[in-house]
């Protein structure tokens, strides 16, 4: 390891780092703006200047930009030299010439990197006598505010949005001191990663629009480590609360998963926690169908009474915590428990787990994904199903340019140099999906085909790699060429990666992807297989398993074999056909534990209000099989409580037999521990929630020590300051008192360090700047191979008995059930649409934007037509979450016709009901 000397102190630093990284990694304070651990160095801001000395004799030194200088062995430098200190103060002075003095009304105030750096460099007096430059701001959509006057021209935004995330509708305009960062014209930012600009911008140019409506300073937020609810990737988040509402979500750094970035579904979708339709009190259904809010005990008594006689089923949920699912499974017994997937989904999950558990299969982290040097994406539209994974893939194609840069002696962190030199070098990414995707621009080759063709294509690639002579194939010449090229690229790669998942709705696609991975395995290659799953705990729920499928559960209820069903955090109208559901719930006692109004609570006899992720502690298992703990951010309003707690209370109310099944479930840790004991695959699950390792009596505060208003915020209710809620479930405290662990790992409720009020402070908690958190990356990888070979659900293929067959599509802003309850996401989402091939549309007299009527099982939905030449004919693409009331099973037959009565919903708002 190279040794460098900074102000007379020697440090061992990582090979290949630059001086800024090296200094920050030692915990030193060195101001910077344009450098970003994930975006690299460009040398624009000149803020990280240090004095570098030629050799031991040199006393004069030369000012140099730390971010642009390799930390070579023997480098001597000074951060404190007068020349460096003076220059850095000048840089701030230059930046502040035009920066408005609007900190008091700026949303960035209090967590502004520019503020921090201004204080750090000691610039206090304004010498500039001129006028400040002003700009016109742009409307950028429902998610972001734009305040260009605050811009310090660090280029981070455009480098993230355009260079890193591949966005096309954002750039740096103009020149000199009139550089303008925005869109060519006003409009909604297209990229689903736009929200990261809030965190990437070192000051208040891009701020969180929903947050700014009910704004709170960072120091007044109560936050806790959390996990994103939005998809199966499991990005780490930092939600913040005040006055009983979720205010905003920031990224929580995780070196192996999300790094520094989230997608907008996760960031803004978490707003569902505040949605109007939240359930805050227990309720009973009257005979006339209306609901009475009742005290919890009354609701529990009614529910217990229903359970007293007859058989009780439990329907779990891929979005509920492991603890809640496990509590329900324990309560009703495994044979009466269904993990809550639609049958076809359960079949897909079985295929996923079977593939993951196969020999020599490595399931990659997103960090591994970024390191892949050849990729095949089979049947999964990752930009819509797992956006953060798509962002990682976008980095993977750069690997060849890094290699080319290394050959040309350009350090990998020298971003502009790598991009200029390496423009012609791209690691191959091959992609087969139903339609064109937002990765087309980086794909070596892309084909659009229905899932069965994608599966065939995958098998062909596997055949070629394994030098098997596969079955005769009906693939066209183009597809054969594609398969040959993909096989070649994967075979030549050192770190080939296969991506697929449940998005195509086809288990054959998943098996084909696994076949490709198996064919590549062996030899010198590091082969990865990444199978995306749809929801935040899909994998966990599936691994827990259950004794019955959803269809079996519904049949059992419909036929009176069971009398009562407890539905856990599951909107069944998305899982089964409406007619079947109605028949089932009409006969049974239905107890629903959920957080949000919907078809299922509306059909319940008893509703128990569940806490969301923000109001509870629990474990989710992401696509990697990583168990991750989310911690309660705030207690939640009204009666809402973690579902496992409702189930425990219910068990106790329902009598000894039930109570014994959940005996000892006092705290979430008890439930996790029981889960770990009972299921080998979850044996390490409780390691996801480590001890804080603090001296006795000390807790990790959820509130920064500048948290204000504690004595006043409830004064309109009572002038006596209420005691902060006690946290019985975690090492965290709902107060400012306590101590942050030195090596926090997961226990980092907010990122703050002396002098560093912004999110940049996270480097103070990293083992090295941009590296893993001290205390290790959060979560624990479960050994999926230990999963009891759950019964394999072979769902019967949907009957394609109508003129069109339904192909499942996903849309980043519409397909996640919970996110769509967030007001900002509803505004951001497209109008519900269906996709048709041009010839089919023409045949039906349907034009782009006109109405399409889709009918199945007596349910009709009306959608806007999108006509896409890449769509296969004879099929209609239906977007999950956009066909409210119509349950879509992949491949099922539907009737499609023109809808002359179609009225487009008002702009940008998804039709409700």
């Amino acid at each position: 390891m190279p040794t460098i000397e900074v102000d007379g102190v020697r440090y061992e630093v990582r090979e290949g780092a630059n001086l800024l990284q090296a200094c920050l990694s030692q915990g030193l304070d060195l101001p910077y703006f344009c450098w970003h651990p994930s975006l690299g160095s460009v040398g624009a801001c000149r803020q990280c200047a240090v004095v570098q000395y030629k050799d031991e004799e040199d006393t004069q030194g030369k000012l140099t930009m730390a971010c642009m200088t390799p930390a070579a062995d023997g480098t001597r430098l000074s951060i404190d030299a007068d020349e460096a200190v003076g220059f850095r103060a000048s840089v701030i002075e230059w930046l502040m010439l035009n920066h408005p003095h609007d900190c008091p009304v700026c949303e960035e105030g209090g967590e502004c990197h520019l503020q921090d750096m201004t204080v750090m460099t000691g610039h206090t007096v304004r010498r500039y006598r001129g006028r400040k430059r002003t700009f016109r701001n742009q409307y950028l959509g429902p998610l972001l505010n734009h305040e260009m006057n605050r811009c310090i021209t660090c280029y981070r935004c455009v480098r993230f949005y355009r260079d890193y995330a591949g966005g096309r509708d954002f750039d740096a305009f103009g020149s000199r001191d009139r550089m303008y960062f925005g869109r060519a014209e006003d409009g909604v930012l297209e990229s689903e990663f736009a929200g990261n600009l809030v965190e990437v911008c070192p000051t208040g140019v891009f701020t969180d629009k929903p947050f700014s409506r009910t704004y709170t300073r960072k120091w007044d937020l109560t936050s806790a480590p959390s996990i994103c609810h939005g998809c199966g990737v499991g990005c780490n988040t930092l939600p913040g609360e005040r006055y009983g509402a979720l205010k905003r979500v920031h990224n929580r750094y995780h070196s192996e998963i999300n790094g520094y970035f989230l997608c907008d579904r996760g960031r803004f979708g978490a707003g569902f926690v505040n949605a109007d339709g939240r359930l805050h009190s227990a309720g009973l259904r009257r005979d006339d169908g209306s609901f009475d809010p009742v005290p919890p005990d009354e609701a529990l008594r009614r529910a217990a009474a229903a359970m007293a006689n007859g058989r009780v089923l439990g329907i779990g949920s891929p979005r509920a915590s492991m603890e809640s699912n496990f509590a329900l499974a324990s309560l009703v017994g495994r044979e009466q428990f269904c993990s809550g997937f639609a049958d076809y989904q359960a079949g897909l999950m079985a295929a996923v787990v079977e593939a993951m558990a196969g020999p020599a299969i490595h399931v990659p982290t997103l960090q591994d994904v970024e390191a892949a040097d050849a990729v095949l994406v089979l049947g999964e539209d990752v930009a819509n199903t797992a956006p953060r994974l798509a962002l990682a893939l976008r980095q993977s194609v750069r690997n060849e340019s890094f290699a080319a840069a290394a050959d040309a002696s350009i350090p990998v962190w020298q971003d502009a140099g790598v991009r200029n030199h390496g423009a012609a070098y791209r690691s191959p990414l091959y992609q087969a999906a139903v339609l064109g995707t937002r990765l087309d621009d980086i794909a070596e080759a892309s084909v659009c085909c229905p899932p069965e063709t994608a599966a065939e294509l995958g098998e062909r690639v596997a055949d070629q790699l394994g030098q098997r002579s596969g079955a005769d194939t009906a693939l066209s010449d183009d597809l054969r060429d594609f398969a040959a090229a993909a096989a070649q690229a994967l075979g030549d790669a050192k770190r080939p990666l296969i991506i697929s998942g449940t998005g195509s709705g086809s288990a054959a696609v998943i098996r084909a992807a696994a076949a490709v991975a198996r064919a590549l395995a062996g030899g010198e290659r590091d082969v990865s297989l990444c199978l995306n799953v749809p929801e935040c705990n899909s994998l966990g729920a599936h691994l827990l398993g259950g004794g019955m499928t959803l269809a079996e559960a519904l049949t059992s209820l419909e036929q009176g074999e069971a009398d009562t069903v407890i539905v856990l955090e599951n909107e069944l109208s998305r899982r089964a056909e409406a007619g079947r559901l109605t028949a089932a719930v009409e006969r049974a006692n239905v107890i629903v534990v959920d957080c949000q109004e919907g078809w299922t609570p509306e059909h319940a006899d008893v509703v128990l209000p569940a806490a969301t992720f923000a109001e509870s502690d629990g474990t989710w298992v992401n696509y990697e099989g990583r168990a991750q703990r989310f911690y309660r951010v705030f207690p939640g309003r009204g009666d809402c409580a973690p579902a496992w707690q409702w189930l425990t209370r219910l068990a106790r109310t329902a009598g000894q037999e039930f109570a014994e099944r959940l005996a000892g479930f006092e705290h979430v840790a008890d439930v996790t521990a029981a889960l770990a004991r009972e299921h080998a695959v979850f044996a390490e699950a409780d390691d996801a929630a480590p001890e804080a390792g603090l001296p006795a009596g000390l807790r990790v505060p959820r509130q920064p020590h500048r948290y204000s208003g504690r004595t006043a915020m409830h004064a309109h209710v009572s002038v006596h300051e209420p005691r902060p809620p006690a946290d019985t479930e975690s090492p965290l405290a709902f107060s400012m008192e306590g101590q942050q662990p030195r090596d926090p790992g997961v226990l980092l409720p907010f990122s703050w360090a002396p002098g560093w009020n912004s999110n940049q402070s996270v480097y103070k908690f990293q083992a090295e700047a941009g590296g893993a958190l001290r205390g290790g990356p959060a979560g624990v990888r479960l050994d999926v191979t230990r999963a009891a070979a759950g019964r394999r659900v072979e769902a019967p293929a949907a009957a394609a008995d109508r003129p069109f067959r339904a192909l499942p599509l996903q849309d980043v802003f519409a397909s996640d059930e919970l996110s769509l309850h967030a007001a900002a996401i509803r505004q951001r989402a497209a109008q519900p649409y269906a996709v048709l091939a041009p010839a089919d549309a023409q045949g039906l007299g349907i034009t782009a934007g006109s109405g399409v009527r889709v009918v199945s099982g007596g349910v009709t939905v009306s959608l806007a037509a999108r006509i896409d030449p890449t769509m296969v004919s004879g099929a209609v693409g239906l977007v999950e979450g956009m066909t409210k009331g119509l349950f879509v099973e992949p491949g099922m037959g539907v009737d499609v016709s023109a809808d002359p009565d179609y009225v487009p919903p008002s702009d940008g708002v998804i039709a409700r009901g």
Partner: protein, 160 residues
Amino acid sequence: MSELINPLSEEEIAAIEAEAAHLPERRSAAIEALRIVQAKRGWISDESLGAIAHQLGMSIDALDAVATFYNLIFRQPVGRHVVMYCDSVSCYIMGCEAVKARLCHELGVEPGGTTVDDRFTLLPTVCLGACDRAPVVMVDETLYGNVSADAIQELLSDHD
């Protein structure tokens, strides 16, 4: 974008394609393409910008980043003739301020302005490489050297 009605003339498209043909990347013809269209139309409207971006297969934003960076690409309408007076050092020494003052007076506009009859737009320019003849003024493609304030009226009369 595919539904965009391309308002470029065949002649413009041909000229742009000729430029793109000898470059390794189509987008590298951006500046030439802007110049070609501006030569015909005087300036680059949003519609022209969109059409050129479409022609070169680049985003409007990326092309506008180029268009707004360069001095000689006009994103606002200009008069039939563009009058540029050099305000760089040699012309400054030789009295360009008097030339500028007279131009403003004669045209009734400040630098950056366009006369009400759309005949002239007045712009400052950096050194035109004719410092031995300072001060210099360029009207469209015609360069005038040793310009005195008194010669302005006549100089302008060359351009209808």
